[in-house]
Symmetry: C2
Subunit: 664 residues, 2 copies
């Protein structure tokens, strides 16, 4: 069966140009070419092989990760890869490592908060990886509330430097990736204290380990925080614990781009607008949204292909059973996730644009749109990561029993992905920030201040509070304007109701706190609207390729209508639609699923993922699932011997009733 | 801090008698005493220690499991434990092993499908564990559709026996627990072929391994199917693969209780009613529902205690931050799960009663209620396992970043639990069976045939189709009759609509298939009603203990009203309640959460779980979370050396720019 394409019949059903869709997914012909080249480079290199992750212990796993990271750096240098190519290559190596934090957090924070002088010194070292850095913020007792950090950096005029100290157990730095074993340096966030006054949390560059023998420097206790969820997953990362016992650093290792301490111990704010930090935040969050679409698309790719291979029930006269993908229960769970993967891809693109736009505005000292940008990116981070985490697990369940095997690739994908719901802002905390902004926007609607950006729709308050949906037959739900208005009306009406309820409380803070659970739903409704509207916007653009736009239109409609069905209570209780219209949406959904069905395999082929990157026996491009599962099974260490270790000690005595003798 | 109870202030807030609640949770004073004694027996025995599971490789893990299983068997014999005690002891050992399948499937299937003679021979061996058995049904290509199994058992008159054979790769037995390494015997399900005719799937007792040296017998290929989801989790179980190459077994090893093959190769059905098999099914499913309440209660116990310890934000004037448990977002996610754990406990009790009732009816040849019992148990298995799996992961997220560490116990609990959604009937397949029964029941409503048991409410069709909810203020939602009627009306109206829609299709099967996704929702509504009504029934009974009933009432109302909020779309679109009444339910929920808040820690204490059984640094009884996390971290193998393996090979060359030389 080797070399046979078991999904060929599926691929021939496709009603659109898959190669053109690949370009749409990648964002451009150039992106596709780079991605494709880097993916193949990684897949063909034996050092990057990844199929034994679940079978080795943590020390070996970590050692392999170090080898891969070093090899990637070697190849990046040898091939003189561009920054874009290098970043893609690291992505396809597909294993969390200290390198992620070095490039993704250490370098950016120095860029954002360092002075020109500091850039010159530290970035030069970091770019060449002559030092390895991490980002040490979170503490054992302090996560979301950064202002609650306990580590202190006390100015010491005698040595013209700072004394970094961990005053309590809960002040131990805890979680920073790359900290435990690999990093030589960290940007440490600590309370700046000078002249007996606490100036709050600031960043300091601290050397942790000797550059000669990698031993921790005096006063520094550093280690790994232990095993995390999943077999391989994030266990290739050395998330670390770090304690300081009065560690001295020179004064110029405080990041002084935004504020500084003079030789005399005076605290001074620079005249650089603090808002500049927003640029980094937007950048990080758009990257997280891109990651979400990538992770969800991998999961749906595996589940769609396997659902086309797997057959169960429905055999007529001894013929083959039905493909699981033909069952409407499978479609109604899987296709909304496929549609979400595409939706998140396009909203990620838009966030990328937003980042450019914000950067331009910041440079022009234009800060008025920042609160809206903050709310929008916080909300999209929360929405996309939550849906993706749940969606991967749903895809795993959609693969039935075999999805529970590590060879399916899905347990690993899930376990490695879920931290995204917590890091860079807990998803619920972020949604409450969004809600706070929405409530404020609503309260200002009468004031003449026009809401902007993703909240612009709130300016149509008079219309949206009283409009009625005009859907009369199922196909009416295919009109983008109808969908958009329903989502806008729902989001606005929920926000208005929430604002009203808060205003009835004895004070706004208490009201906000008591109604928090409702406010999370208000924020969710707003964020879903953003994704729907950006998907609709995408479809207004020119999209080349035979049938490509039609497929995307179907996915966009599935995305919107499946949300409408899932949150029907919102739409009905706000009077945006009638129960009858809700039922019509459901009817239209069924029709859309049947239109996607013949295109499903081609729609996941468009992601252009290599079998190496997918890492799944179930998601193989050629659909040759069962022989792969069978062969992989025998590689398990338990199969190294036919009779298991422990037979003579622990099985035979049971069978031979050796314990009964012990009964006196 | 050792010995201090950090949760003492929480425990003193409780408004009810925790010891009395422990008895309610356990089911009786006797149950509590046995559970408590067995839990302590396990917790105090060093062989049963479990805290290193995530740090060892699979061979060592499996070897440890064999040791624990043998030691448990030794203790069971030494202490002459009763069956009840032995089963509790195994539960608290809390590690999946071959023993589960031996006692849970091998023995019961022989009991249910064997003849008296077969019982005498095989059960005697099995009870003494002179043989170890498993249940070999599922195949690589065949899961839910048992009728599609491919393994053959062909009658061979010459040898007066059967030839067991695996004709294809997809016919390989795949998944059976205990099969891979430990079992000496299996009940193998295979297509019975005699005289050239295929009589469908039947069970056969097959010896797999020599009782002398544990080597597989000729013609048998057997092994483990490889690593599964999670670090420890189900990897202590040897789920297996098994292939037969024309293996001969004697004729009397076919399980002949329900049908048999004569010496001449004639196939005969016995006159034992086939419905008797239902008894076993009800038994297995009630056990699964009990497991669900146990797993969900463990997760909520961890999350509630940690939420009382964890503080974040809300510090005033440098005082302590707020307990996370005080945030209404945390309460609105956590308390419905706590309420579900209790709800599932009571519906499990009721299923236990149902099992006794069914057994009595079967013995009296009374089969009329069986379809309803089947639908009810299938639905409750599906509902409780899905909610529990999602609920554990939600509890993990509610513990923030630290929930991602294996020392939190939650990743392990999740990974070991999720297969329950798939085994013993895929949850979606089961819900469709429920829906099929409901649609049929609806279609017979006019016929004079009265629906029984959990569908009895459908007999009130005229009232339920037109009744209107009379809630006018939030507290009206506390009336059990009001809640019950809303849930009954919702379930019935959804079933009626679905039946109507199906009847409009060109044929019923096509209609059923096209509307499957809706039908899953119909079945869910019905199953939620069952749980709600059994919780309400429980509260009609006498419940002793100061404040105990009041707490259970609050939990019952939270269970029902949080479901109403979650599925608001159902209630509104069927016109069971108005949007205003939905909002009032939400208002009442908030009030209920604040009433549960001071009792939350005591409500999870009532589960009476030992720290050993919980296996969680976050869920410790004494709340001493941070020192435990800190100490556990240093036990990770990565911390065995300060400088990690691979430093000289893979880190130093990066830092020292050794790769740059390679660039020519």
């Amino acid at each position: 069966m080797e070399g046979v394409d078991h999904l060929d019949h599926e691929r021939r059903k496709a009603q659109f140009d898959v190669e053109a869709m690949k370009i749409v997914w990648a964002g451009s012909k150039h992106n596709l070419e780079v991605s494709d080249r880097m993916a193949r480079l990684v897949a063909s290199d034996p050092v990057f092989e990844k199929d034994n992750r679940q079978r080795i212990d943590r020390r070996e796993l970590f050692n392999n990760t170090l080898r891969k990271a070093a090899h990637a750096w070697k190849r990046i240098n040898e091939l003189r890869l561009t920054e874009e190519e290098a970043s893609k290559l690291r992505q396809f190596v597909d294993e969390p490592s200290y390198v992620d934090l070095h490039w993704g957090m250490f370098v950016p924070v120095i860029k954002a908060q360092g002075t020109d002088e500091q850039h010159k010194k530290w970035l030069t070292l970091a770019y060449k990886m002559q030092i390895i850095g991490c980002y040490a913020q979170t503490e054992l007792g302090h996560g979301s509330n950064v202002q609650g950090l306990e580590t202190t950096a006390t100015f010491d005029p005698k040595s013209d430097g700072f004394v970094i100290h961990s005053p309590t157990l809960t002040s131990s730095k805890w979680w920073p990736g790359g900290l435990g074993k690999a990093s030589t340096h960290a940007v440490v966030f600590a309370r700046l204290i000078t002249d007996g006054r606490d100036y709050g949390v600031h960043g300091f560059i601290v050397q942790l380990r000797s550059l000669e023998d990698h031993l921790p420097l005096p006063g520094i206790t550093v280690g790994d925080i232990g095993t995390k969820f999943g077999n391989g997953a994030y266990n290739s990362m050395d998330n670390g614990v770090l304690r300081f016992d009065h560690v001295h650093i020179p004064r110029d290792q405080m990041l002084m781009g935004l504020s500084r301490v003079t030789k005399e111990g005076k605290y001074l704010k620079s005249d650089v607008p603090r808002q500049l930090a927003y640029g980094t935040m937007v950048y990080v969050r758009q990257a997280i949204v891109s990651d979400a679409s990538r992770a969800l698309s991998r999961a749906t790719c595996i589940a769609v292909r396997y659902s086309a291979v797997r057959r169960q029930f429905g055999s007529h006269d001894g013929g083959p059973e039905s493909q699981v993908l033909d069952y409407t229960t499978q479609q109604s769970r899987l296709f909304p996730l496929l549609a979400s993967a595409y939706a998140f891809r396009f909203v990620g693109d838009w966030l990328n644009w937003l980042y450019t736009d914000v950067t331009r505005r910041l440079q022009a000292n234009e800060f008025s749109t920042l609160p809206e940008v903050h709310a929008c990116t916080a909300g999209l981070k929360s929405l996309t990561t939550s849906v993706t985490a749940d969606g991967i697990e749903e895809c795993r369940k959609l693969c039935g029993g075999h999805g529970y095997l590590c060879t399916s690739g899905l347990p690993e994908l899930f376990a490695v992905y879920v931290p995204a719901c917590t890091y860079e802002g807990d998803n619920i905390v972020l949604l409450l920030q969004v809600a706070r902004f929405l409530v404020k926007t609503v309260s200002q609607l009468g004031s003449g201040k026009q809401p902007t950006g993703t909240t612009a729709y709130m300016g149509k308050v008079e219309h949206l509070m009283q409009c009625t949906c005009d859907v009369q037959k199922a196909a009416d739900w295919l009109r983008p304007s109808t969908i958009l208005e329903a989502f806008e009306a729902r989001a606005l009406r929920m926000a208005v109701t929430a604002a009203k309820n808060i205003s009835m409380a004895s004070n706004p803070e208490e009201g906000f706190s008591a109604l928090s659970a409702d406010l999370v739903e208000v924020a969710t409704a707003h964020c879903q609207l953003i994704v729907v509207s950006k998907f609709i916007d995408k479809l207004q653009q020119e999209i080349v390729g035979n049938g490509v736009k039609e497929q995307l239109q179907n996915l966009c409609n599935i995305y919107a209508l499946s949300l409408l069905h899932k949150h029907l209570g919102d739409f009905l209780s706000t009077g945006c639609i009638t129960p009858k219209q809700g039922a019509l949406a459901n009817e239209q959904l069924r029709s859309l699923y049947s239109q996607v069905r013949p295109n499903a395999v081609a729609l996941v082929d468009a992601f252009n993922y290599t079998d190496h990157y997918l890492g799944s026996a179930l998601g193989r491009y050629d659909g040759n699932v069962y022989p792969t599962l069978y062969e992989e099974a025998w590689k398990d260490p338990l199969n190294d011997s036919v009779v298991p270790d422990g037979y003579y000690e622990h099985i035979r005595p049971v069978l031979k009733q050796k314990f009964r003798v012990a009964r006196l």
